[in-house]
Amino acid sequence: MRGLRWSPVDIAIVVGLTVFGLMTLYPFWYILVISFSTPEAYFASDYHLIPSSFTIEAYQYNLDNPQLTRSLANSVFITAVGTVNSLIWTTITGYFLSKRGLAFVSIIFTLFLVTLFFDGGLVPKFILIRQLGLRNNLLSVILPFTINPFFLILTKNYFRTRNPEIEEAARVDGASAFTILFRIVVPTSKPILATIGLFYAVQYWNDWFWPMIYLSERELFPLALHLRNIVTQSTSFEHNTGGIGVTSPATIRASTIVLTIVPIVLVYPFVQRYFVHGILLGSSKE
């Protein structure tokens, strides 16, 4: 065995990938360092590689700000309710579509596929939400996104890779479709459910666009939209004033950014091991 004999090429690749990894992480580190800096240290440092000061003032300011805490609560609500709702219906629909023998499966699948290709667009959707009376209601940023056709296809394909014999045995024993789905299929499909669960959660947590369109009351804004308002307001202001005397200083902006990223970064490593597996199994055509 040659084992791990390091050639110059090996070393070059490892060095190259290390640089790549650091470049990927640097923007996050940069904003993290700024979020703990004092305003003076922020203007004094060029690269924010090493923290030269440490203060939690920006976080304190943010957590004392009722607008921020409210938007945080809104984001948690949208993400929790949205993800659970989406997971339930995507699982049910994916399970239904994974049944090859049913007469209406291909028609219903086509109906879902069409939505991937053609979309009514912003204005008709806005009109719909207005006519349903859902404007300025958090349900307007949850219900329309119940089933994402991409995740539905992943789920359907994953269910099709399962061994049908166990289900058949349960059916012979008199279990209903509902029991089979939630007692047998769901517990044995963790990789795909964790994967699409993460995707849905990230999608709801990150969404600022539809909230911007459907919600006009500040009390209903999720964190991402609150952050967007801070970022766009302060940057346009900075451009005018050369960065001096900004309304919302860079450190406060940075701490809001960190608060928005933290939940994703915390959950991500635990789900990461599932998602590569989940996507690859789900995207393979049987």
């Binding site: 990938l17 790549f20 990894g21 470049m23 053609f118 008709p124 959707k125 939209l225 940057t235």
Partner: protein
């Protein structure tokens, strides 16, 4: 002689089409029995179908307002018809025309520069033999994909700023001129491309790494016996094996040219770079919040959806031809 042969070959084809349009009695009986036997499953699918109709098909029908002078008071059915007036207005409008062409320019530039990047990353990651290092690089590289453009714009606004940004500070240190990445119209499209590569390179490499994992190790062993070096193995075994994946992903991204990039542009652009940065979706959303003329904006959305649909169908058809009848969808 040849002509009659062609006619006969054509006839049964039409015959085969008929049962797909008008279901036969046998088919209907079978379908009804199927409904009875799987009552529970069909009951479960009713709410998703209702969702699909209300939140997807109703707005699709709503595109008819692009041909109307829509008002909420009169509704979909009572509003006056105006034909192609809005479409004509849009294509005569310089701002929309500019947004229309920018959409193509930015996204084609993105494909041109960005497409090879995940392939190179996947090849490099594949060459690493220390598993824990490999895993760490992969985990790190996927991360930015999960962060929204609102957050990334907040970071890049600071990082790429002309006067305080770390990137320009490095340039200044090296004696290079400072570049206004976010406010110089000539540079802005490249800023979009590079930041998008930074965000998606790791995620894009997943599909290539998965294909590499399916290559049989015996191929590499045989090549080694024949005295192939590392580069030769990459060039003659790995890359050819990646070709189908490359073709599919390339066609798919060409097919998606009209549909991507909104989140990024809308969060990074500003009036100084509208000239090169404004795309159809940002034009629609900006006009929507400034001065909503529903019908006209619905028409702009319809143009984008329709062209996007055509491009995607063409791309899918191309993939199908290349892969023995297997489309992407």
């Amino acid at each position: 002689m040849k002509k009659t042969h062609d006619d006969r070959a054509w006839l049964p084809h039409v015959g085969q089409l008929i049962p797909r349009v008008i279901p036969s009695a046998t088919y209907l009986r079978g379908a009804l029995r199927d409904l009875r036997m799987n009552k529970m499953l069909y009951l479960l699918i009713i709410p998703p179908l209702a969702y699909l109709i209300v939140f997807h098909y109703v707005p699709m029908y709503g595109v008819i307002i692009s041909f109307q002078d829509f008002s909420f008071r009169k509704g979909y059915f009572g509003s006056d018809w105006v034909g192609f007036e809005h479409f004509q207005w849009l294509f005569e409008n310089p701002t929309f025309r500019r947004a229309f062409f920018n959409t193509f320019k930015i996204n084609l530039l993105r494909i041109l520069i960005g497409f090879p990047c995940p392939i190179i990353l996947a090849l490099l990651i594949n060459e690493v033999r220390v598993t824990i290092f490999k895993r760490t690089v992969q985990t790190v590289s996927y991360l930015p994909f999960f962060i929204s453009w609102v957050v990334l714009a907040g970071i890049f606004n600071d990082l790429l700023s002309r006067d305080f940004g770390a990137v320009n500070n490095v340039f200044a240190l090296l004696g290079l001129p400072r570049i206004d990445f976010l406010q110089d119209p000539a540079v802005f499209p490249f800023t979009l491309v590079v930041t998008e590569i930074w965000r998606t390179i790791g995620w894009g490499s997943i599909f290539y790494l998965a294909t590499i994992a399916t290559i049989s190790p015996t191929l590499y062993e045989a090549a080694e016996v024949d005295g192939a070096n590392r580069l030769q193995k990459v060039l003659y075994i790995t890359l050819p094996a990646l070709r189908p994946t490359m073709v599919v992903l390339l066609l798919l991204s060409i097919g998606n040219v009209l549909r991507v990039g909104f989140d990024q542009v809308f969060n990074l652009y500003n009036p100084l770079v509208y000239e090169t940065g404004d795309i159809i979706m940002t034009y629609i959303v900006r006009s929507f919040s400034e001065f909503p003329r529903f019908s006209r904006l619905a028409a702009a959305g319809f143009i984008q959806s329709l062209l996007g649909l055509i491009m995607l169908l063409v791309a899918n058809e191309a993939v199908k031809r290349l892969q023995d009848g297997e489309g992407i969808y």
